[in-house]
Symmetry: C2
């Protein structure tokens, strides 16, 4: 019998656990409301390197090292690394994979990468192919802005709908056995699009994907908002949150007070990020350093965590295409 | 007990089968030695679209449709699509995923993507999470050259070490039950590098990864060349083949007459591609339309198929970095 519900959801016979995590963030993120929770905060976003790209890959490799150190493991004791990032050809992940020497599956799921990885890691473990898998993802304000929009040195005015790419990286060690929050279900997203072409309004791009995946999750698992302490989205930001709630409400799910978004948690309003945080690291570092410890402490018992990715590419923007998006969700229990 | 051998290899309790495939190639590939084997050959590499990028994603979506049609299935009867390509943010795969509406895992494994996908698909199926998964990948000479090297209109002289990016796409339908070549093992690559920085000599970049993964496969499965009819590599080309053989020989494996490379099979010498074919589509279309039918007909009974990816990125080339590479392998039996 397939461990599959409906058309997009899988469940785990022996739910894998998230055994440890590592997080590294930039200086701005360190000054935000969650600043004290991260394992390492950079004082300089170059992280002692000559380029932001090299800084990003170093953050990613460091986050993996921290997660393994906390579990008292070496890279050789892990079967697979599943990782990805926003940079063309996911260079941060490729280099972090080379540095750790762990057999590597490269992923591209934009800002949903950490959840894409968690879903796959749980399937590889519950399927009997691994006892330990590391999932990791990163982003960097400097590398993302110049690749996707404008070099930051140019000082282009950001519209109010723009989000601030989180500088950071996080790694999660997922294991067959051991203490830690469990992954019980995963709902795999379809690529959807409302027709938005504006690369400075990614909240609107991602909201339909977030709502679609959350609603499918509720329908296919037979669950509803009652059974979750909170539903969390990765990086919809102010505008995306409002639209996702509207779209979920149309389908009968009033997220209301039960919804939190990592893009709204990571920066304080005074930090002037406009619509909030975004980037692969946004959901990854907030999950690693805020939500997982909160599950362990018993602040929450059951979360639905939806990562959302705007599948933006400068090439398609230049060719006048709409920006597609997708969302993947996992259920995390104490 | 883990279905894991050594440190990089997994095996399948109930080996999944490749039930059908679809392949689409460009006009140059259609004129090559395997031309008659492909499902569709473009007469114009724009494929009726206004850009090469749109042509590439159309090829990819078409290859998926062909694979499903041959199996008499609709996209709704498939649980997951695993796909990736060479373009920044894997836009071909994202759009093909949107078009088919299949729940989607985006991959980036450069030219090893089709094998990365096959390995993961087999794990998801044997792990009990899916009964049918489509794996697909694409590349296009026009899109890849202008992204990675020079716009083709510029007429830059290509060095003899350069390979020709295959224009094409292939999709493979993998199933829990049904007739077709079986996937019995997968060896997942580590990212390795010999220090090469030249984006026009990717054979040299990929050869160490190919040799490393093949040798690990033999060591971890306790197999050797005797037990395979042929070992196949994805797109090492003339220079990479020679180097990979040298490196494997140092470890005691003389690939000799038992080794074929898709990059050397797809074009005739007179087609002036220098070191041979490359690109995500190279191994994908040759596997789909030559090796899989040959396994079904009994020409071969057991192949080791190694996809190799040069994790090249213009960003890292511009920053003076070496180009890392990785190889993933699967065992295919009749």
């Amino acid at each position: 019998m397939l461990k599959h519900l409906g058309t997009q959801t899988v469940y785990f016979a022996y739910p894998p656990a998230i055994l440890s995590s590592g997080s590294v963030v930039g200086s701005k993120e360190g000054k935000g409301p969650l600043g004290e929770l991260f394992d390492e905060v950079l004082s300089d976003d170059y992280y002692g390197e000559v380029s932001w790209e090299k800084a990003e890959r170093k953050m990613l490799a460091t986050s993996i090292e921290i997660a393994l150190q906390k579990a008292n493991l070496t890279p050789k004791e892990v079967q697979f690394l599943l990782a990805g990032d926003l940079l063309d050809q996911t260079i941060s992940a490729n280099f972090a994979a080379q540095k750790t020497g762990i057999p590597f599956f490269g992923l591209f799921g934009a800002c949903a990468t950490i959840i894409e990885g968690l879903a796959l890691a749980a399937m590889l473990i519950d399927g009997g192919f691994a006892s330990r898998v590391v999932v990791a993802s990163s982003s960097h304000y400097g590398t993302a802005e110049r690749q996707y929009r404008f070099p930051t040195e140019q000082g282009v005015q950001r519209p109010p709908s723009a989000q601030w790419t989180v500088t950071g990286a996080a790694a999660l060690l997922v294991g067959e056995t051991g203490a830690g929050p469990k992954i019980t279900h995963a709902t795999i997203g379809k690529v959807v699009s409302l027709g938005v072409k504006d690369p400075t309004d990614l909240g609107t791009v991602m909201a339909p994907a977030a709502a679609d995946t959350m609603v499918k999750h509720f329908q296919e698992t037979g669950q509803n908002l009652e059974t979750y302490d909170l539903v969390v989205t990765g990086d919809l930001g102010k505008i995306g949150v409002a639209l996702a709630r509207e779209l979920a409400k149309e389908k009968g799910y009033d997220l209301g007070q039960k919804h939190a978004d990592c893009g709204l948690l990571i920066y304080a309003p005074a930090q002037d990020t406009h619509a909030g945080g975004s980037g692969c690291a946004c959901s990854a570092v907030v999950l690693a350093s805020y939500f997982l410890p909160a599950l362990q402490k018993g602040t929450f018992h059951r979360l639905l965590f939806t990562g959302t990715g705007a599948l933006l590419s400068p090439t398609l923007t230049q060719q006048g295409d709409v920006i597609p998006a997708l969302g993947h969700a996992v259920t995390l229990t104490r």
